[in-house]
C-alpha cells in the first residue's frame, strides 16, 4: 500500500509541475494587466506541435542523442513560442489596453479559437504522436510494493524545478524583473518613473509563453500524443491551479499546480477516477470560500 501511495504522489507531482508551469503564464499576465489570457492553453498546444516539428527535423538531420535533441527542441520551441506570445499580445490585447475590462477577455477567447483553428487547418485534425525519446525507468522497492518512475518523469520534475528557479531569478534579481514588479504594483507610477510599461507587458507575455513552451515540450515527451484541442482541458486545469494558489502570485501558481496534481492523483487512487474533477473543483470552491485571494495571493484592498 505504501508503494501505491508513493506512486500516486509521483504521478501527482509530475502532472502538478506541468500544471504549475502553465499556470505561471496565467498568473503573470493577470498580475500585470489584470486580465485572464484565455489563449494561453492554446499557446501551450502550439508549443507541443513546435516541439514535435523540432524533434522530427533534428531526427532528419541525424541528431539522435537525447541531450542534444532536447536542448535543440527546447531552444527552438521556447523561442518560437515566445514570438507567438509577443504577437498575440500585440495583435489582440495591446489595442484594447484602455478599453473596458471585458474587451480583452473576449479578445482572448477569440484568439484561442483562432489558434485552435489555425493549427487544425495547417497541421490537420488528426492525433499527432512522437516516438518515445527516453526509454527506461527507475524501479524502487518500497515495503511490500514498488514504485516505478520513468526517466522522462524524473526529467520533467527536474526541468520544471529548473524553469521555476530561472524564472524566480529573473523576477527577483534582474533589471527586467524589477521593471516587471514595478509595473505590477502600479503601472501608472512605473510609467511616470520612466519604465516603458508597454514593453514590460510584452516581456511578460513572452516569459509566460516560454514557460508554457517548456511545459509543452515536457508533456509531449511524456505522453507522446497531442492534437489541436490539447490546450483546452490542460488550460482550464492550469487556470484553476493559478486561482487556487492565488492569481498574481508566482509561487502560488506552482503551489496550486502541485496541490491540484496531487489531489487529483490521490483522489483517483483512493476514491474514484470518475469524480476526480468534481473533487478538485470542490477543493477550489472551498479554498476560495475561506481564502478568496487564493493560498498565496495578496488580498485586494479597496480604497474608499
Amino acid at each position: 500500500m505504501d508503494g501505491i501511495f508513493l506512486q500516486q504522489m509521483i504521478n501527482g507531482l509530475t502532472l502538478g509541475s506541468v500544471y504549475g508551469l502553465i499556470a505561471i503564464g496565467y498568473t503573470m499576465v493577470y498580475g500585470i494587466i489584470g486580465m485572464i489570457n484565455f489563449a494561453h492553453g492554446e499557446v501551450y498546444m502550439v508549443s507541443a506541435y513546435l516541439a514535435a516539428i523540432a524533434i522530427a527535423v533534428l531526427g532528419f538531420f541525424g541528431v539522435h542523442s537525447f541531450p542534444l535533441v532536447i536542448l535543440g527542441t527546447l531552444i527552438f520551441t521556447i523561442v518560437v513560442t515566445g514570438v507567438y506570445g509577443f504577437a498575440i499580445e500585440r495583435i489582440a490585447y495591446k489595442p484594447l489596453r484602455n478599453s473596458t475590462r471585458l474587451a480583452p477577455l473576449i479578445s482572448a477567447i477569440g484568439m484561442s479559437l483562432i489558434l485552435q483553428n489555425y493549427v487544425q487547418l495547417s497541421q490537420g485534425a488528426r492525433q499527432q504522436g512522437i516516438p518515445t525519446m527516453l526509454e527506461g525507468s527507475l524501479r524502487l522497492h518500497v515495503g511490500e510494493g514498488f514504485v516505478m518512475i520513468t526517466y522522462t518523469k524524473l526529467f520533467i520534475i527536474a526541468a520544471a524545478i529548473a524553469g521555476m528557479l530561472a524564472l524566480t531569478f529573473i523576477i527577483q534579481r534582474t533589471r527586467l524583473g524589477r521593471m516587471c514588479r514595478a509595473t505590477q504594483q502600479d503601472r501608472k507610477m512605473a510609467q511616470i518613473l520612466g519604465i516603458n510599461t508597454d514593453r514590460v507587458i510584452s516581456y511578460v507575455f513572452v516569459i509566460g509563453a516560454s514557460m508554457g513552451a517548456l511545459a509543452g515540450v515536457l508533456i509531449t515527451l511524456n505522453y507522446g500524443t497531442f492534437d489541436f484541442y490539447a490546450g483546452f482541458i490542460i488550460g482550464i486545469k492550469a487556470f484553476t491551479a493559478a486561482v487556487l494558489g492565488g492569481i498574481g502570485s508566482l509561487p502560488g501558481a506552482m503551489l496550486g499546480g502541485l496541490i491540484l496534481g496531487v489531489a487529483e492523483a490521490q483522489f483517483s487512487g483512493m476514491v474514484n477516477t470518475d469524480y476526480k474533477d468534481v473533487f478538485s473543483f470542490s477543493l477550489l470552491v472551498l479554498i476560495l470560500i475561506f481564502r478568496p485571494q487564493g493560498l498565496l495571493g495578496r488580498p485586494q484592498v479597496t480604497k474608499v
Binding site: G12, A125, Q127, G129, T132, G224, D227, F232, A265, Q266
Partner: protein, 373 residues
C-alpha cells in the same frame, strides 16, 4: 423614407426567392456524409469520407441511381452531440439531403438520427455500435456494423475462455459508445462468473491516466478491458507499460486505426493489444476490385472505410429498389430485401440491424499492424 425601405423589402424578397429557387434546381440525389471530420477522431471521419467518395464515384460511373447522379455533402460533427444535431439540421434543411451516411460516435448518431427521422429520410451509420441506436423505433435508421451487446459478448467470452483471467479491470471513457461497450463486456463477464476488480471512467481529452494506472496495478488485474477510442487508449496502454503493469489490454472497435500506434508512443507499447472488430471486410472476396481501386490511389481501406462504401451501396440499392428517395419506402424495401455490397450480401432486420454480425478478435503486432487471431 417609406419608399426606400419598400425597395429594400423587394430586394430582400428577390434574394430570398432566388435562394430558394436554387435549391429546387438540384437534380442530383444528395447524400450527406456525417462524422468527425475534425477533432481527435478525425481519422475515423476520413475513413467514412473516403469510403463514401469512392462508392459514389463508382456508382455515378455506372449510371447513378435511377439515372440521377449522386452528390455527396460532407458534414462535420467532431463527435459532439450538440454539433451533430446542428449539422443534421443543416443537411436536411439547406443541403436537402435525401439520405445520410453517419454518424460515427454513438453519442452523435442518436440525437442526429432523430432529426433525419423527423425529416423522413433514411440514415445508415457505418460505425455506431451502441445498442440504443436502433432500439428507439425510428423508421429510417440502419447500421452497417454490429452492436456492442454482440461485441461485448465476444470480448467477455474471449477474456474468460482464452485468456482465462480471474481479475479483470473494466475502464471506460464515460461516453455513450465507450461506457456502453464496457457495460456490455462487464455484463458478459459477470454472467460467466468473473466479477470485475475495478470499474472506472476516465475523461476524454485528457492524456494523464497515471493515477488510474497505479490503481489498476494495486488491484493486480490480469486483463484491462477498455471501452473507448484510440486517443485515450494509446496513452493509457503506454502509461500502464511504463508503470510496469503487464496486464493484457483488450478493447473494441474504437481503436481500429493506425493512429492508435502513434498515440501509444510506438509499436513497442501497442504490441499485444487485443480488440474486437467485424471480420476484416478486406478478406471478403466481393470487395476485391474495390479494394484494389483504393490501393491504386495510395489509400489503404482500413477500419470503417469499406463499411462506409457499403452504406452508400445500400442507400443506392434502396432508392433503386423502391424507385423513390422517400425515406419510408426505401426503409420498407431495405427491411424486406437483401443488398449485395462490397462486404458481401447484407440483410437488415425490422429494427435496422444487420441479421448476422461477425465480431472476431484482432491483435496488434510489433510492426504496428493488426491481424485477425
Amino acid at each position: 423614407m417609406p419608399h426606400k425601405s419598400f425597395n429594400k423589402g423587394v430586394l430582400a424578397f428577390a434574394v430570398a426567392s432566388a435562394m430558394s429557387l436554387s435549391s429546387f434546381a438540384y437534380a442530383d440525389v444528395v447524400i450527406g456524409v456525417a462524422g468527425p471530420m475534425t477533432g481527435g477522431n478525425a481519422a475515423f471521419g476520413e475513413q467514412l469520407w473516403r469510403g463514401a467518395e469512392q462508392a459514389v464515384a463508382d456508382i455515378n460511373a455506372a449510371g447513378g441511381i435511377n439515372g440521377e447522379k449522386i452528390k455527396l455533402v460532407k458534414a462535420d460533427d467532431a463527435c459532439e452531440p450538440k454539433q451533430a444535431v446542428a449539422v443534421a439540421n443543416r443537411l436536411v434543411d439547406s443541403d436537402k439531403a435525401v439520405a445520410v451516411v453517419g454518424h460515427f460516435c454513438s453519442s452523435s448518431t442518436m440525437p442526429a438520427s432523430e432529426v433525419y427521422d423527423e425529416a423522413g429520410i433514411i440514415s445508415i451509420t457505418p460505425a455506431s455500435t451502441n445498442p440504443q441506436v436502433t432500439e428507439r423505433g425510428l423508421t429510417g435508421e440502419f447500421r452497417m456494423c454490429g452492436r456492442d451487446d454482440q461485441q461485448g459478448v465476444v470480448a467477455g467470452d474471449y477474456i474468460v475462455d482464452t485468456l482465462k483471467a480471474k481479475k479483470v479491470a473494466v475502464i471506460h471513457d464515460k461516453d455513450t459508445y465507450g461506457q456502453g461497450l464496457a457495460d456490455a463486456t462487464k455484463m458478459e463477464l459477470n454472467k460467466r462468473g468473473v466479477k470485475e476488480v475495478l470499474y472506472e471512467g476516465l475523461t476524454r481529452g485528457e492524456k494523464d491516466f497515471n493515477a488510474l494506472v497505479t490503481k489498476i496495478r494495486s488491484t493486480g488485474a490480469e486483463v484491462v478491458y477498455f471501452g473507448g477510442l484510440h486517443a485515450e487508449a494509446g496513452p493509457l496502454v503506454r502509461q500502464m507499460r511504463e508503470q510496469g503493469v503487464t496486464a493484457k489490454f483488450v478493447s473494441g472497435d474504437g481503436i481500429v486505426t493506425d493512429e492508435f500506434v502513434g498515440t501509444a508512443g510506438g509499436a513497442q507499447y501497442a504490441k499485444g493489444v487485443l480488440m474486437t472488430f467485424g471480420a476484416d471486410p478486406r478478406q471478403i472476396p466481393d470487395g476485391k476490385a474495390v479494394i484494389e481501386k483504393f490501393r491504386a490511389n495510395g489509400y489503404e481501406p482500413e477500419g470503417y472505410t469499406l463499411y462506409s462504401y457499403a452504406s452508400i451501396q445500400t442507400i443506392a440499392a434502396a432508392f433503386a429498389g423502391a424507385k423513390s428517395t422517400e425515406g419510408a419506402k426505401a426503409s420498407a424495401w431495405l427491411k424486406a430485401n437483401p443488398v449485395s455490397t462490397v462486404m458481401g450480401k447484407k440483410e437488415f432486420d425490422a429494427k435496422g440491424d444487420l441479421k448476422v454480425s461477425d465480431y472476431v478478435m484482432y491483435e496488434w503486432d510489433d510492426a504496428g499492424k493488426y491481424k485477425q487471431l
